[in-house]
């Protein structure tokens, strides 16, 4: 008689546990990363009697979660790939919008400036035409500055995003390490390897969040903890220990952040996730765009000044020698010595070779006996003339001059184009000072020096300046100013385009992985409702068995009475 009660009770208990778990599943239907749980039953060991083995009811063996390591890993890697392309395409489309916008793009400003130059060529004596030219020159300069400052703002934004990602990674890593500790403790509490399912879910969700920031690989350890690796095998979480990621400004360019793990630079090994998306954006979209814009600015200013200030060949409305129309800052080509370098190097634009300018930085290394020059955009070694450093070297549209010989191994970063758009200024605001004439009447002999007189109607220089617009003087004599800017727009556009395409491909893959994962682990309310009915019925049945046992007992008692 007690057998039937115990058996019924075990059924009641089992149904109750199942109802609990079903309730838990229903409650967590919208919890991110939750894996549905199931109560695993097994029969109690049967009791041997002379009549054979009599069943002893049910026993809750374990509460297990629906989980597949392979599917989870796939989801993690898809998440990294997706958030990388997502970050890249979001950031790149900002540059895309800036460069193409009628209001912020360069083309309209360039065009109205050259229209004004044509106006001066048509009417070299007209002060209003000259006024228009100086004011459009001002707005062209502002457009260059404005584009450059928008790029700067994006660079700051990218750096902030990297900082946020790094902070998130650190906090996730710490939490994963803490969870590792709790899971190890939790699993060792039971002898038969019962797992703390909800903690496992939490940890998996965190690993997935981590994967949004950076590509990770995980290894399950025997004790239930998980080891997380980033980059090319750098350990981020090991047991209860989490490494620390940090950002550090580059020594030669303070606006450029490198990623360190416990003090070691791993910028080049980072792959996947928002962090890599931001790095890729900076290296493959933003930097080339800024360099190309700088190339247009530098090429434009140098070529324009070359004609406008040509000694003895350009004169203003007073007959005075023309001067530079556009400035490129105090030191147009900046040279930054790497820490520990000695000696000094200066560089300047070579107006005769503007077509050789490339949108890139350069590194000049001194080995202790010889110099070597590397173009950083494609890591190409540039041949320096054998006379360098005795005489200044004219390479890549620049003239590199040695100030003093380094005493040991040294390295210099030369940036001909990077800051050109930012530093550009208009030097002439007085319309009279525009040099449109190719000749003047020089002052008479001997004192008193009569000032030179203008040949006011001469427009030869203005015509030459207007022609610059369609002269392919940039990029090896293949691109006009506008053409070079068009290349910038096309480069940014195709980078954005391909980022968007791979983003939507990655999104499809991610959704597939999510679906596989959700189909396995997600909660289906209909299923849970059916389970509710099922376990309610089995609970009711077990209760009925107790009632039967009770009435049996009553029957027996009645018989005795």
């Amino acid at each position: 008689m007690s057998g039937i009660l115990t058996t019924a009770l075990s059924g009641l208990m089992a149904s109750q546990r199942s109802l609990d778990t079903t309730g838990h599943n229903i409650a967590n239907v919208n919890t991110v990363g939750y894996s549905r749980q199931r109560v695993e039953f097994s029969t109690n060991p049967a009791q041997f009697t002379g009549d054979g083995y009599i069943g002893q009811g049910v026993n809750v063996a374990s509460v297990s979660r629906s989980y597949d390591q392979f599917i989870t890993n796939q989801l993690t890697s898809s998440t990294s790939a997706f958030s990388e392309t997502d970050t890249l395409s979001t950031l790149a489309s900002q540059v895309d919008n800036i460069t193409a916008n009628e209001a912020t793009g360069l083309s309209p400003a360039l065009k109205s400036f050259f229209n004004a130059v044509n106006g001066v060529a048509n009417d070299p004596t007209s002060i209003p035409a000259r006024e228009v030219m100086t004011s459009t020159a001002g707005s062209l300069t502002q457009q260059f500055n404005g584009l450059s400052s928008q790029f700067e703002a994006l660079r700051k934004q990218t750096n902030n995003q990297m900082q946020t990602s790094v902070d998130d990674i650190n906090s996730y890593a710490k939490t994963i390490a803490t969870l590792n500790g709790q899971i190890v403790t939790g699993s060792s509490r039971t002898s038969d390897g019962q797992l703390p399912n909800d903690l496992l879910d939490q940890r998996d969700a965190l690993v997935n969040k981590l994967a949004e920031k950076i590509s990770v690989s995980t290894i399950q350890q025997q004790d239930g903890s998980v080891s997380v690796f980033i980059g090319q095998g750098q350990s981020l979480v090991s047991g209860v220990k989490a490494a620390n990621l940090s950002l550090e400004a580059s020594k030669t360019d303070s606006s450029r952040q490198n990623i360190l793990i416990d003090g070691q630079d791993i910028s080049k090994q980072i792959s996947g996730g928002e962090l890599s998306g931001a790095l890729k954006f900076r290296d493959e979209v933003l930097d080339p765009a800024q360099q190309q814009l700088g190339l247009v600015a530098a090429g434009f200013a140098v070529e324009f000044n070359k004609l406008h200030a040509a000694p003895g060949k350009a004169f203003d409305l007073n007959g005075v020698q023309g001067t530079d129309m556009f400035g490129l800052g105090v030191v147009p080509v900046s040279v930054i010595a790497a820490p520990g370098s000695t000696g000094s190097i200066t560089a300047a634009y070579d107006p005769a070779k503007t077509g050789d300018l490339k949108p890139s930085d350069y590194r000049l290394d001194y080995s202790g006996s010889a110099y070597s020059l590397t173009r950083l955009s494609d890591n190409t070694l540039i041949t320096l003339p054998p006379t360098f450093p005795g005489t200044p070297a004219s390479v890549e549209g620049m003239t590199i001059t040695q100030g003093s010989l380094p005493t040991g191994t040294s390295s210099f970063i030369i940036r001909p184009t990077f800051n050109a758009a930012k530093n550009m200024t208009t030097l002439i605001t007085d319309p009279v000072k525009i040099a449109a004439a190719g000749s003047n009447i020089p002052g008479s002999l001997g004192p008193p020096v009569v000032p030179p007189t203008a040949i006011a109607g001469d427009n030869t220089v203005a015509l030459g300046l207007a022609n610059l617009e369609k002269t392919p003087g940039l990029l090896g004599g293949k691109a006009t100013f506008n053409g070079a800017y068009g290349q910038l727009v096309a480069k940014v556009g195709s980078a954005t385009h391909s980022a968007k395409i791979s983003n939507s491909a990655q999104e499809a893959l991610l959704n597939q992985a999510k679906q596989t994962q959700e189909n396995l682990a997600g909660v289906n309310l209909d299923e849970e409702a059916a389970n509710l009915i099922k376990f309610q019925q089995s609970y009711q049945a077990a209760a009925k068995v107790i009632a039967i046992a009770s009435s049996l007992f009553d029957t027996l008692m009645g018989a005795v009475r």
Binding site: S107, G446, P447, P448, I455, G486, V489, G493
Partner: protein, 412 residues
């Protein structure tokens, strides 16, 4: 296959979001009327659009350059036509004046009319355009090209003064007394003026030059407005070094008219590779005045006077003295020939402007057609796409609402 409830919801939502974003893209395209909203929509086309726009605006600029050139050439054409009319009248007067039946007083009347007409002609030669630029002075467009001069240029004498002369000045063959001055002194300038006036050269007066004001040189004026030859003999010393100037050339000035412009023609870009000159130097149209520099030359005899104003003045002077020369008519008709040449060259340039304008217009139209095909939206296609997408979105929304109603819990 089992489906997770929250994922089923998520996929429906995702699909609606996608439909909305596509619908939004189509809507933006229709608002802008453009296929390409950002370069990334079609990078190759975006960069082509920049080139095409550039090309169109460039050609539009050529058109406005063309208009500027046309305005000036039309003005020049008008001026030349008026000059031709005047020369025709002068030729007529000349033929009358050469008529043997005319007496001296008749000829004096003709001479007066001729001189007036000549002044008018000089006025035409000094025409300014709307910007105040002289049409016929080459690059020196702010300088009046032709002026009737009875002045020895002050600057010429200024050179003498600035170089501390020791010697004499010979004017029309009459020598002054010995002049010794230091450089650049007002007192010495006055002593030079006195020395010249003391020499009593017939019809020549010396005075302080005020052209341009403040130049402070010495000016010589001839009463009959013609033929002053001034020559310096002696030594000139560079004031700054105290060394005798190596090129102490005699200073000479002969002539009635001066051309202050130059020989240049301004070009205007009216097409990709086409430039056109928007004016003519005065000496090409009205003939070069008798040179005013060394060696000393007198105004040549009638029949070989190159400058039209000098020729007419000579003709009028001869009529006044009752000795008109048949050869003067030759001067007038050769001048007429020069002007007609210039006029036909202006006409040819105006024709070139017309043909270039036609070419530019065609070019702009063609380029705009290509641009439109590249960037403009095909509205028929866009509208049908829009209604398709609207339909799809509605369908998704309805399906979502329907499916969401289905739950086993409804029956518990």
């Amino acid at each position: 296959m089992r489906i997770s409830t929250s994922w089923a919801q998520q996929t429906s939502v995702n699909s609606m979001l996608n439909q909305q974003s596509r619908l939004n893209q189509t809507q933006l395209q229709m608002n802008a009327g453009k296929k390409i909203l950002t370069p990334s929509d079609d990078p190759a086309a975006a960069s082509r659009i920049i080139d095409l726009n550039q090309s169109i605006k460039q050609t539009e600029q050529y058109q406005s350059n063309n208009d500027a050139a046309r305005q000036r050439l039309t003005l020049e054409d008008g001026v030349l036509q008026s000059s031709v009319d005047i020369l025709n009248r002068i030729e007529e007067l000349g033929v009358q004046g050469l008529n043997a039946t005319y007496n001296q007083s008749d000829r004096a009347t003709i001479a007066t009319e001729m001189e007036e007409l000549n002044k008018q002609l000089v006025g035409y030669a000094n025409t300014q355009n709307a910007n105040g630029e002289y049409l016929f002075s080459g690059f020196k467009s702010t300088t009046q090209p032709f002026s009737k001069s009875n002045i020895v240029a002050g600057s010429v004498m200024a050179v003498v003064l600035s170089l501390a002369p020791t010697g004499t000045i010979i004017i029309n063959g009459v020598a002054t007394g010995n002049i010794t001055t230091t450089a650049n002194s007002t007192a010495d300038r006055d002593s030079v003026i006195k020395a010249i006036n003391d020499a009593n050269v017939p019809g020549v007066t010396a005075m302080i030059d005020t052209d341009p004001p403040g130049s402070g040189g010495v000016r010589l004026e001839a009463a009959d407005g013609r033929n002053i030859a001034a020559q310096f003999t002696g030594t000139l010393t560079q004031a700054s070094t105290g060394v005798a100037a190596a090129t102490a050339e005699p200073i000479i000035y002969v002539g009635t008219y001066r051309y202050a412009g130059d020989n240049n023609q301004r070009s205007i870009q009216i097409g990709e590779t086409r430039k056109i000159t928007d004016g003519d130097p005065g000496i090409n149209v009205f003939g070069a005045p008798t040179p005013t520099t060394s060696p000393v030359t007198a105004v040549p005899p009638p029949g070989s006077i190159a400058n039209i104003f000098e020729a007419i003045d000579q003709f009028a002077k001869d009529l006044r003295t009752n000795t008109p020369k048949q050869a003067s008519l030759g001067d007038v008709s050769s001048a007429l020939g020069k002007i007609l040449n210039a006029q036909s060259s202006v006409g040819a340039r105006l024709n070139a402007l017309d043909s270039q304008e036609g070419f530019n217009t065609d070019y702009i139209l063609n380029t705009k057609t290509v641009l439109s095909a590249t960037e403009d939206l095909d509205y028929a296609e866009a509208i049908s796409r829009f209604s398709q997408q609207t339909l799809a979105l509605q369908a998704s929304q309805q399906a979502f609402a329907q499916v969401k109603k289905l739950s086993l819990f409804n029956y518990l």
